[in-house]
């Protein structure tokens, strides 16, 4: 199992991470080694093992359905690059 240079570039693009080609080659090599190791682990019979969704063996605590947050828009918007009429403004995105 190996991961190609193209795959590394695609994933970095999806994650919006800038990776130059030299780095990408290095990542491709490193990630391929990791995948090879995973593949090796795949040979262990795990039919009886429940997949782990979280390293902590505890259960999610649930919150009562109550509104306790107050409006802090003014504060939040002081760190926004641009706002107008209460909206956060971002460079135009059109589908």
């Amino acid at each position: 199992m190996s991961i190609s240079l193209e795959e590394v570039l695609n994933i970095s693009h999806l994650a919006r991470l800038h990776v130059d080609e030299e780095q990408a080659r290095q990542y491709a090599a490193d990630l391929s080694k990791i995948l090879a190791w995973v593949q090796q682990m795949n040979q262990v019979d795990t039919r009886e093992v429940v997949p782990m969704a979280h390293p902590l063996d505890v259960v999610q605590r649930l919150r009562e359905d109550k509104v306790t947050e107050t409006d802090q828009r003014e504060k939040f918007q002081t760190i926004a690059p641009r706002t107008d009429k209460g909206l956060y403004l971002v460079p135009k995105v059109i589908e």
Binding site: R63, K66, E69, R73, F76, Y88
Partner: protein, 478 residues
Amino acid sequence: MIRWEAVIGLEIHVQLATQSKIFSAASTAFGAEPNTQACAVDLGLPGVLPVLNLEAVRMAVMFGLAIDATIAQHSVFARKNYFYPDLPKGYQISQYELPIVEHGRLEITLDDGVQKVIGITRAHLEEDAGKSLHEEFDEFTGVDLNRAGTPLIEVVSEPDMRSAKEAILYMKKIHSIVRYLGISDGNMQEGSFRCDANVSIRPAGDAGYGTRTEIKNLNSFRFVERAIDFEIGRQTAVLEDGGEIAQETRLYDDVTGETRSMRSKEEANDYRYFPDPDLLPVVIPQDMVEAIRGQLPELPSEKATRFCTQYGLDAHDAETLATSRELAEYFEHTARHTDAKAKLVVNWITGELSAALNQDHIEITESPVSSTMLAGLLNRIEDGTISGKIAKDVFRSMWTGEGDADTIIESRGLRQITDDSEIERLVDQVLQDNPEQVEQFRSGKDKVFGFFVGRVMKLSQGKANPKQVNGLLRKKLK
């Protein structure tokens, strides 16, 4: 010539009617000033952690039980990664491998009365995104994050529907169920209930599937129906021309009634899901499931069945009434307070009342004619005080606030004439005034009979008892 068959599956997003958001304690109320209900968690500010809302979990379980689904005892939240300005964290918290609800089913009744089962693959909990406003600013997009973090269940059906009509029946049934359960207001204008449709076609009888397209963000029953019909037509034309269907996402334009391709992005549908490390697995104990089961209200199909046996309604009427909880309650309340036959009650509710509600664009809960008032009116038809025709006038007067049926009948002197001698006087008058028609009738032109009935009714200002008028006319014209 190939006969094509459509294969349709729906993904329905239902906003849950919680007070606070799924992972934060900000309000979910609709219509607030932009960003006044978006807290640090909703904005994805550094250092915040999501805490799951118990009520959202309860509502998802309720839905699962209502569709005979399996409730996962162990369920996991995952991150769905994509970049868009109305998604502040860069991922949506959703569920992937272990959704809370799986393997459900729903029966729909087709036009010919046949019941069809639609499979429901899964229903998972997730957070809604914010809203992007593209029109208001020239170079910018405005982002309102009030909706970000509103709890949703996404209900994914099997590709079991074969026409736009079936898709609508299924969608309406889901709509009816979530409103019965009180887990969503189902308001489509406000986006509380919206749908993506997956559509493909194949030669009728084939077992395989054709390439499908996904039509996004349909927010009315009518749009879903039109978009699917358009898409079936478009795909048929492409295939019959020897072309190929591209797997893509399409948008429905409600002005032209057509679907068009969204600019296809190569990275689309590569969401790189993984379990959200900020959230622990959710465990739903069996006793909680059973407690929720015990609180389920009577559901639409159960209610429809009961209406058939208890009130002797036919399946179609019973289903129509059971569609909405409010409508069903109105019917039952009216039926309990009148001696009139249930069928007459149904006819008035689905006829005069529905027409008036539609005309004034109001809900049945806002009807100026209450169920008690309608029952009062039907009692006066039943005991012969007024005819069905006059009753319609009385209904209009009740609608405009002139009082209850008895008040209007008395004040306007609408009481039906049932006195034989008075009706006889009217009949005699009409016969005397129209000797020519009397001659025609006697020479065998039976059709003229209706003319006499009409004249007598007119003379009585619609108040004469039509049965008695008929009887007396027959006697006199012999």
